[in-house]
């Protein structure tokens, strides 16, 4: 009997192989979703932005998602490429398609609904619709719970300034239409910068006028930063703001905070807790 089963399994092997068993994942949140779907065994490569979970870093890195080279991608012999929107360049994608590799573009997202759409797109491309629906439903429920927690927070909404970079004392802040602004709103904060879209350099006056209660920034590696000892406190304009006075800088891993992947409900809760923490 067991022999018969083994024989059946062996006979089925070519069938499963035909359903794309060499998957290349381009985009940090796409890789996270592949892992969340339990399909990591099919991954043969990743891009530079795919760093979570830690196990994904063991896979060959084919380069930065917007500057892919065709041979690097083909060298891991993928038969399916899951690619977050915005990956490229277009010439590379054309060459890859010419080489007969199937490319599925996963839509970008900066809302919880977008995350569910991403999950369903990845699941459909991997032929895992059932698991995809399950994961999307789980994320939906977690998001709803997180948003309920956010709504239950008492008191006025804190003004949050997201600082993307601080090169030579010149701050780059997040305006509207950014994933940072979306996360701040979801976590029950108010984006302190208004009047422009995208990430732009801020003048010191704009920083002062923004009067943030909390400064939000990314950390490069996982784990909390050192409270009370952040380089941002040294910035003169920031130091004069309520956030600078109260020494309230919140740092979170970039992919966790802004990736809009399966960890987004968790990120909403973590950011919400940090924004409403007393005596930080």
């Amino acid at each position: 009997m067991s022999r018969l089963l083994l024989a059946t399994a062996l006979a089925l092997l070519p069938l499963t192989a035909a359903a794309q068993d060499r998957v290349l994942s381009i985009g940090g949140s796409v890789s996270e979703i592949v892992y969340a779907l339990g399909q990591e065994g099919r991954l043969v490569g990743r891009d530079t932005t795919s760093t979570y979970p830690a196990a994904v870093e063991a896979l060959p890195d084919v380069g930065y998602m917007r500057a892919l080279s065709p041979e690097g991608v083909l060298s891991v012999s993928p038969d399916l490429i899951l690619m977050e929107a915005g990956a490229g360049p277009a010439e590379t994608l054309a060459t890859l398609e010419g080489a007969g590799v199937k490319i599925v573009t996963i839509p970008g997202a900066d809302s919880p609904e977008g995350v569910e759409a991403k999950v369903q797109a990845v699941a459909a491309a991997l032929g895992q619709e059932a698991r995809g629906a399950e994961l999307a439903a789980r994320i939906e429920a977690e998001t709803a719970a997180a948003l309920a927690t956010v709504a239950a927070q008492p008191g006025p909404k804190p003004r949050v300034l997201f600082v993307l970079g601080n090169s030579g004392g010149r701050l780059t802040g997040a305006g509207s239409d950014t994933s940072a602004a979306a996360m701040i709103a979801l976590a029950g904060g108010v984006n302190a910068i208004e009047g422009f879209a995208g990430y732009k350099a801020l003048t010191d006056e704009a920083v002062a006028a923004a009067a943030p209660d909390i400064i939000l920034a990314m950390e490069s590696s996982e784990g909390p930063g050192m409270p009370g000892d952040d380089p941002l406190y040294a910035h003169a304009a920031l130091a004069a703001t309520p956030a600078g006075q109260a020494k309230r800088v919140v740092r979170m891993p970039g992919m966790f905070l802004l990736g809009f992947g399966p960890r987004t409900p968790e990120a909403i809760l973590a950011l919400n807790a940090a924004l409403y923490a007393k005596g930080n």
Partner: protein
């Protein structure tokens, strides 16, 4: 008559360097063949070219050899040769060993064209997108470089005479202007566009394909084929424009030819490969030290050396962080800058810049 005299004089006077030129040319041709073979054989996938004949390859493997490595090799050879020859032409024209194609505004103009296409591409009419497809950036870079050079040429020319000094100054001014316009667009650019801009500026042959090769090759080959016609004129101009004119050299024609050839070759190179520096300065320099300043031997050897150097750098760029790759501009600067500095230090006593 006079041109015949110029042609005859160096030929009789320097027979020994002739042998040296022959040896250097043969050596460079050999290096070029070796690097070309390496470029076809080395890559992230570990495929070897003869597997094309020895076994049945999958479509993806065929594509790696025939649609990725081969056009990339050919494009790299043509771009490297063009940049090196452009550098040699500019240094001859400006009688300055530090001149490079950037002096005639090609780089700044092409950069501005590329930035316009990357940042404002989304706002352009659909008809332009339909016509250019994914080649919007290279086309704009080419026309940006070309337009800047023509403007510069008009500015520096009066009654059929082109002032090289005016051109140099106007080139710096136009470069600053193009840089400022680029800066405004960079400010307007969003996050993703900024990343595209950065990678464009670092240069790469990763986007090479047969379409790009077919578009750029006629311009680059025509430029390479026409440049030797200027060699004698540039040799004479090394003595000064006045002397060259007395020797019967059509000075204005040589200037016009050199500027147009450089603008076309550099514009096309930058359009298909982004910003790749140092080839135009390092290659002619090393060759001048090896075989002397005669443009008749300098231009062809610069083409060989430039091609070999760029192919080698490109091969390194796709091997060091394989399967990802480094932009070639980084590799060129990493190789070029120390070599250049070493030459300067070694020749400090004897060479005057």
């Amino acid at each position: 008559m006079a041109t015949a005299a110029i042609a005859a004089a160096p030929a009789t006077a320097v027979t020994a360097p002739r042998l040296k030129v022959g040896a250097v040319t043969a050596g460079l041709a050999l290096i070029l063949l070796t690097t070309a073979a390496a470029s076809l054989s080395l890559g992230a996938s570990g495929l070897l070219p003869w597997e094309l004949f020895s076994r049945d390859l999958s479509p993806a493997e065929r594509a790696i050899l025939l649609d990725i490595r081969l056009p990339r090799l050919l494009l790299g050879a043509l771009v490297g040769a063009s940049l090196a020859v452009s550098g040699a032409l500019m240094q001859g024209l400006f009688r300055n060993p530090l001149a490079d194609p950037g002096l005639v505004g090609v780089g700044a103009g092409a950069g501005l064209g590329a930035v316009v296409a990357i940042v404002l591409g989304g706002l352009m009419p659909a008809a332009i997108h339909a016509a250019t497809g994914m080649y919007l950036v290279p086309l704009f870079a080419f026309f940006g470089g070309w337009a800047t050079t023509l403007i510069l040429y008009r500015v520096a020319s009066l009654r059929g005479q082109t002032s090289i000094a005016t051109m140099l100054l106007a080139g710096i001014v136009l470069g600053a202007l193009a840089g400022a316009a680029t800066g405004v667009l960079v400010y307007l650019a969003d996050d993703n566009q900024l990343r595209d801009l950065t990678f464009w500026g670092l240069g790469s042959l990763a986007g090479a394909n047969w379409t790009k090769l077919a578009a750029a090759a006629p311009i680059l080959i025509a430029g390479l084929a026409l440049s030797p016609l200027l060699a004698r004129g540039l040799n004479a101009m090394a003595l000064g424009e006045g002397v060259a004119r007395h020797l019967g050299v059509p000075v204005e024609g040589v200037k016009r030819g050199a500027i147009l050839i450089v603008a076309a070759m550099t514009g096309a190179s930058v359009a298909v490969s982004g910003g790749i520096g140092f080839v135009g300065i390092v290659v002619p320099h090393i060759l001048r030290l090896a075989i002397g300043p005669d443009h008749r031997s300098l231009l062809p050897t610069a083409a060989l050396f430039g091609a070999a150097l760029l192919i080698a750098a490109d091969t390194v760029s796709r091997l060091v962080v394989s399967p990802a790759e480094l932009p070639i501009g980084i590799i060129m600067a990493l190789i070029g800058a120390p070599v250049f500095l070493w030459i300067l230090l070694a020749r400090r006593a004897t060479m005057e810049i």
